[in-house]
């Protein structure tokens, strides 16, 4: 079985965020970039499936040159080969323009199963997997926490408000990984060494048969108008009092300020 896994490189959640001079983006200098945590879950699921069913895993990222580090991490975890969509025309993409490019990759490689993370941590759009499924004409299992493959059917459980539901779809299909699906492995030293020799194919807009105005900033349907610091949440009063007094204070707060009683 052939697997595609899409991963995005994102700022480490611990990173201090500074807004750049243009007022719309963040300063990248000094930022530690990692594979988005949900995408590690997507990689792990592909690895588990390959271990059970055989086949080949291709990991794909779209992004600037630094994205190669994310691909090396995925290769070190055990993916077989990598594709890097690297072209200035891809830059500044919103989810729609991102999905447009990634859907072209899906069409080019005709995989059996395609994995996405639930969200790129930081921008948290939770859109790209579903959009690619739509653009590539595939069914999908969203926010998947449990997966079964049986013949040409995939069955996945997803969390919904107050419970779970099981979605069934025929292969080829898209699976969007949610936390709980598995525990991603750490790359072993041997994997890291092997990763250095695994191939990374570079693809441009032209290689995907797309035109520059369909992708990147030009192909985007939304635009960051501005990025601002959140209004500082003012700390209210802090009390160190006997439990009974504290309880009375909380009740008064719930009643008078929050109007929740």
């Amino acid at each position: 079985m052939n697997f595609l896994v899409f991963v995005k490189q994102v700022p480490d959640t611990e990173t201090k965020i500074q807004i750049a001079g243009d007022g719309k983006s963040i300063v990248e200098e000094g930022v530690n970039f990692i594979v988005s945590p949900y995408d590690e879950i997507a990689i792990e699921e592909a690895l588990l499936r390959k271990e059970a069913l055989g086949g080949e895993i291709t990991v794909v990222t779209m992004g600037p040159n630094r994205g190669e580090a994310a691909l090396r991490t995925a290769l070190a975890m055990g993916c077989d080969k990598a594709v890097h969509l690297e072209d200035d025309a891809f830059l500044g993409a919103d989810s729609y323009a991102t999905a447009k490019a990634l859907a072209a990759v899906v069409k080019k490689y005709s995989p059996d199963l395609v994995f996405f993370g639930k969200q790129g941590v930081g921008t948290d759009n939770t859109q790209v997997g579903q959009m690619v499924a739509e653009m590539a004409g595939l069914g999908h299992i969203g926010m998947c926490v449990k997966l079964e493959i049986e013949g040409d059917k995939v069955r996945g459980e997803r969390e919904i408000e107050g419970g779970r539901e099981t979605i069934e779809v025929s292969l080829p299909a898209v699976v969007v990984a949610q936390k709980g699906l598995n525990e991603p492995r750490y790359p072993a030293l041997r994997g890291i060494m092997q990763a250095k020799r695994k191939p990374i194919e570079k693809l441009t807009v032209a290689d995907l048969g797309l035109s520059a105005d369909e992708v990147g900033l030009a192909g985007s349907r939304t635009e960051f108008a501005s990025l601002t610091l959140p209004p500082a949440r003012e700390a209210g009063k802090k009390l160190e009092v006997e439990p009974e007094v504290a309880a009375k204070e909380i009740v008064a707060f719930l009643k008078n300020e929050a109007k929740a009683l």
């Binding site: 930081g122 107050g162 099981t166 779809v169 960051f224 601002t228 802090k238 504290a246």
Partner: protein
């Protein structure tokens, strides 16, 4: 026209759907265009009367057999068909697990920009400006649209619910030609009566300071007295004290209740990412330097094993 995906299950309209229709109604007067609600799936007819309470000018009802079971692509097709036929310019979804699953497919079908999980919506020069927290709440993005059709999903509990009864025309739409790819073959709902975390007006959360699973009944009782839901930090979830479905934060749920009560939670940035947009935050922590106090509207420095029972007692005495 403004179209609102008014999510329902078995004839019962979701609270988040009521919020979305309310917001649609408000936008309708700002943009001077009519607003319509779309109800679909099994039992949808039963939700029509309820949706009328929130002021739509029209209601579209899609109850055809192919949509009897939930399907992201099937529902998206039905929604996109209505949008195209009506020439919709704005499409609102609640940011529920269904909304988040369906909306991106609709956006791809109608070639619309989509902004997810927004906490603010404004109109400038006839176009929408949506705001949402990004980078664990360390920044706020204001997003504008380049596409003709503008789509957003609305974070639960942020946009006020407003009753505004109307007598809309109800239009039945035929969806019998839809053939869904991904289909919900079974749905398992936990015992009823429990308040859903993302929709709760009050959330009481426990962290590592709870010490063990045996102590969670303390906050469960408190949550119940307040008509709220129970949340948790990742530390508590990773320790196996409570199921992941309760986790609040970067890799859990994003909640925005009126009151968030954090018990024995230090206030790591990844936790704040999931609850920083709560209206009021009450923190109970024995460490006076815990970062959670920096965002708390009311901070109690003390032992949660003393404060929580005292609070529960006090609340019981009220009733």
């Amino acid at each position: 026209m403004i179209l609102v995906f008014a999510e329902q299950r078995d004839g019962i309209l979701k609270k988040a759907a009521k919020e979305a229709v309310s917001e649609g109604k408000r936008l309708s007067s700002k943009l001077s265009v009519p607003v319509a609600a779309v109800v679909m799936g099994k039992g949808a007819a039963g939700a029509v009367d309820e949706v009328k309470n929130f002021g739509p000018d029209k209601v579209f009802l899609v109850e055809s057999a192919p949509l009897d079971q939930y399907s992201a692509d099937g529902f998206a097709e039905a929604m996109a068909n209505v949008a195209k036929e009506q020439g919709a310019t704005v499409i609102l979804f609640p940011a529920t697990t269904m909304g988040v699953d369906v909306a991106p497919r609709v956006a791809a079908k109608v070639k619309a920009g989509l902004v997810s999980d927004i906490t603010g919506l404004e109109v400038a020069d006839g176009k929408l400006l949506a705001t949402k927290p990004v980078y664990s709440g360390k920044a706020i993005a204001t997003v504008s649209f380049k596409s003709d059709i503008q789509m957003v999903t609305l974070r639960s509990n942020v946009f006020p619910l407003e009753e505004n009864p109307s007598s809309p025309e109800v239009v039945t739409v035929d969806g019998s030609g839809i053939s869904p790819m991904g289909i919900a073959v079974s749905t398992e709902l936990k015992e009823g009566g429990k308040v859903e975390l993302a929709e709760a007006a009050v959330v009481v959360s426990g962290g590592r300071g709870m010490k063990g699973p045996e102590n969670f009944p303390l906050i469960e009782e408190l949550a119940e007295l307040l008509g709220g839901a129970v949340g948790a930090s990742r530390a508590a979830v990773d320790a196996g004290w409570i199921d992941h479905s309760h986790q609040v934060g970067q890799t859990g749920k994003v909640v925005s209740p009126t009151v968030y009560i954090a018990c024995g939670i230090s206030g790591a940035i990844q936790h704040i990412a999931g609850m920083g947009s709560s209206k009021f935050i009450i923190a109970i922590n024995k460490d006076e330097d815990a970062p959670i106090f920096n965002v708390a509207s009311l901070g109690i420095v003390g032992d949660l094993f003393k404060v929580v029972p005292a609070l529960t007692e006090e609340l019981k005495n009220l009733n």
